[in-house]
């Protein structure tokens, strides 16, 4: 009786594949037209400037071509994507007012539980609209603004929003940034005033639901001088056969001596095109920390960009990518050292299995102004089998002699001897491999809050063993 498996099967992730029957009140058929953009603007009661902004972005969208590099986006037909779907509910600050079918989805994802466990604020986005949003009193009392983007447009901080909205990520950046500008919907706005230390992480949890729906949420976070914040973006989307597109946009502003940690656990379903754009500008002495775990999606192109714009600004990137069957996860980062004594530290890991492709692209730019800057990039890849693929594509553009730049890339496999060793203590082959992979990912999971670290370990287990232990 042969009990040893030589191949770890890709598993069905039913527990994340919960889908509610569509009860959308408002869907727009097919592709994107100027009329649709105007209609969206009207529906959202945009201020005039935003209406004009959307129209201008739409014009850019029509003229910019799809990127001619990176993974194929051939499965993505913009003419079939219903770009805007809105659930049958209005914004609600009370859990009891959220419709039952939405609650069911949230409860399965554990969101109310998370809320009860005194997580600072849960803004859960269901399809394209925020349906549940609650900011804990103590955070509001500190003067921290945490609200949905729509409210932010007309609220007390409307001018601040206008001043920053798509300034870091202009609509001319690429086709999907333009698309985002035209049809964006939902997302979060956070402002942390000078010197305020937000001790509990703010969380935004959202998921894609309707078949063929795109998700275009906009996140704008401004951390003022000397303040600090940890923001967690968690997302999960159920699985459909129609290609789904996620083209969100994240713009972060880190003030002088301020600190922002931006964590993402992304486990969208495997039919998703995840083309998010994220950028941060860091002023003198400020710090941005990216913590990223990418598990889902059919195709991902995720390259958060950091502009270290003031003396001594610092970036840290800790990320892991897990590409399974049918997945092409193209991740990485871009960092621009644009001031003296700026530092960046990149620690990326990738895992590929069952024919999955993971690619890590890094681009380090040291401008002539960035004397005495230091940049270090380390990328480790783990291949679970012989049919998977892992690539590392580093790029460096250094315009000064007075900088210290290092790059290191390694690629490894799970050694048979290591599996044998773990199995000799009673672990099954799958458990042994899962343990090795979890260990490989440990430097990322330890950076996450406990519940997310556990979730990430569960995801790894799910991929490796096919069950949650």
């Amino acid at each position: 009786m042969a009990e040893e498996k030589t191949y770890v099967e890709d598993i069905d992730r039913n527990i994340y594949d919960i889908k509610d029957e569509g009860q959308d009140s408002f869907s727009l058929d097919g592709g994107l037209t100027l009329d649709i953009v105007k209609q969206i603007s009207e529906e959202k009661h945009d201020p005039e400037w935003m209406r004009e902004f959307r129209i201008a972005a739409y014009e850019k969208y029509c003229s910019i071509k799809l990127p001619d590099w990176g993974p194929s986006l051939g499965g993505l037909n913009m003419n079939e994507i219903i770009s805007y779907v809105r659930p049958n509910t209005k914004m609600s600050a009370k859990w009891s007012e959220v419709p039952d079918y939405i609650k069911n989805t949230f409860e399965r994802l554990g969101i109310p539980k998370a809320e009860r466990e005194s997580l600072a604020g849960v803004g859960a986005q269901y399809d394209s609209e925020l349906v549940y949003h609650n900011v804990k009193k103590e955070v509001a009392e500190q003067g921290v603004i945490y609200t949905d983007m729509e409210s932010a447009l007309t609220g007390e901080y409307a001018d601040m929003v206008k001043e920053h909205f798509m300034k870091l990520v202009p609509v001319t950046d690429h086709k999907f940034a333009a698309l985002h500008g035209a049809v964006w919907s939902g997302g979060s706005f956070v402002y942390v005033p000078k010197g305020v230390q937000v001790s509990i992480p703010l969380q935004s949890y959202f998921r894609l639901n309707a078949p063929g729906a795109g998700q275009f949420e906009h996140t704008l976070i401004i951390v003022d001088e000397g303040a600090s914040l940890h923001f967690i973006e968690g997302c999960s989307a159920p699985k459909y056969n129609v290609a789904n597109l996620h083209a969100g946009c994240v713009e972060l502003f880190v003030g002088k001596n301020a600190k922002l940690r931006y964590s993402t656990i992304e486990k969208k379903k495997k039919n998703m095109y995840n083309l998010n754009t994220k950028k941060v500008k860091v002023e003198e002495g400020g710090t941005i920390e990216w913590v990223t775990g990418s598990f889902g999606s059919h195709v991902s192109c995720l390259y958060p960009m950091s502009i270290l714009n003031g003396r001594g600004a610092h970036m840290e990137y800790t990320g892991i990518t897990f590409a399974g069957e049918g997945q092409n996860l193209d991740t990485g980062l871009k960092v621009v050292h644009n001031a003296p004594e700026t530092t960046s530290l990149t620690n990326a890991k990738s895992i590929s299995k069952s024919g999955g492709i993971s690619t890590f692209r890094s681009e380090v730019i040291i401008t002539g102004k960035a004397k005495k800057s230091k940049a270090s990039v380390s990328c480790e890849s783990l291949m679970i089998d012989n049919i998977s693929r892992s690539d590392t594509i580093p790029a460096m553009d250094i315009r000064t002699d007075d900088a210290d730049v290092g790059h290191e890339a390694t690629i490894g496999r799970i050694s048979d001897e290591a599996v044998f060793y773990l199995m000799s203590r009673g672990l099954s082959e799958e458990e042994a491999k899962a343990m090795i992979v979890s260990g490989f990912a440990e430097n990322v999971s330890k950076e996450l809050p406990l519940e997310y670290a556990m979730e990430m370990n569960n995801l790894i287990r799910l991929e490796m063993v096919g069950s949650i232990g």
Binding site: M1, S415, F420, M423, S424, R425, G426, L427, G439, F440
Partner: protein, 247 residues
């Protein structure tokens, strides 16, 4: 007569097509201490790996019964669960997995689920016996451990997992006198705590001092060249393997 734990009959094993073990017979009863000696390259470690089930070792023929069941048809983890343990000569380093989590996973596989807190409490006396600092539990498995620390960690696993038979593959090699004494104390504790059987692969007698040896086997060129009582260990220490090589 005490219960038979391991019975090897006519075991032949090849690695990369090369025959290493040739028709080996060996029987170990409950609680017995067996010593396996032999020159370098005789196939001692191969026997240990083959019994544990390393897929690199190809079983050509023979039968192995462990506690009355066919051992060779079992996967590696099933062999461990059945009560077989191998202390590795150079155990693997596994980054990101703590020693504590590793041992607890092994215990859990055997159906013994303990919280981290309780585990740390329970294991305290074993750590003291092995002269190990509690901080080892939170360190990545074997990563950056010295040779001696790795061996101690293996014996700690032995003490926690309480197998019916432990194969110690040169657990004493490369250790200084004090470390051998410490490891030996651990092995003795394993033996005493639940009458565990031992197959000790060794070149020296230091590790055997605290134990009473029941049988000695001399492995030369892939087969058992001689067998005897504890006196055979001393005999070999004095005269070496030359006599068996010339045969």
């Amino acid at each position: 007569m005490s219960q038979e734990v391991l019975k090897i009959e006519g075991l032949s094993v090849a690695v990369d097509g090369k025959v290493i073990l040739d028709k080996v017979d060996l029987t170990i009863n409950e609680g017995e201490v067996h010593v396996l000696m032999g020159p370098n390259g005789a196939g001692k470690s191969t026997l240990g790996y083959s019994l544990m089930g390393n897929p690199k070792y190809e079983i050509l023929e023979g039968k192995v019964t462990f506690k009355g069941e066919d051992l060779l048809e079992k996967s590696v983890d099933k062999r461990a669960k059945a009560g077989l343990f191998l202390s590795f000569q150079s155990p693997q380093e596994i980054p990101g997995v703590t020693l504590a989590d590793f041992i607890r996973s092994g215990m859990e596989a055997k159906g013994e689920r303990v919280s981290l807190y309780k585990f740390k409490k329970n294991v305290k006396s074993d750590l003291e016996l092995l002269n190990m600092d509690a901080s080892y539990l939170d360190r990545d498995l074997n990563v950056g451990f010295s040779g001696g620390e790795k061996k101690k960690a293996e014996i700690l696993q032995l003490l926690c997992l309480k197998p019916a038979l432990a194969i110690l593959d040169e657990t004493d090699s490369g250790l200084d006198v004090d470390a051998v004494r410490t490891v030996s104390a651990g092995v003795e504790a394993y033996k005493k705590s639940h009458n565990g059987a031992l197959l000790i692969i060794t070149h020296s007698t230091k590790i055997l001092e605290a134990l009473s040896v029941d049988r000695t086997h001399v492995l030369v060129g892939g087969h058992i060249a001689a067998e005897g009582g504890p006196e055979l260990v001393d005999e070999i220490n004095e005269n070496g393997f030359e006599k068996y090589l010339n045969n």
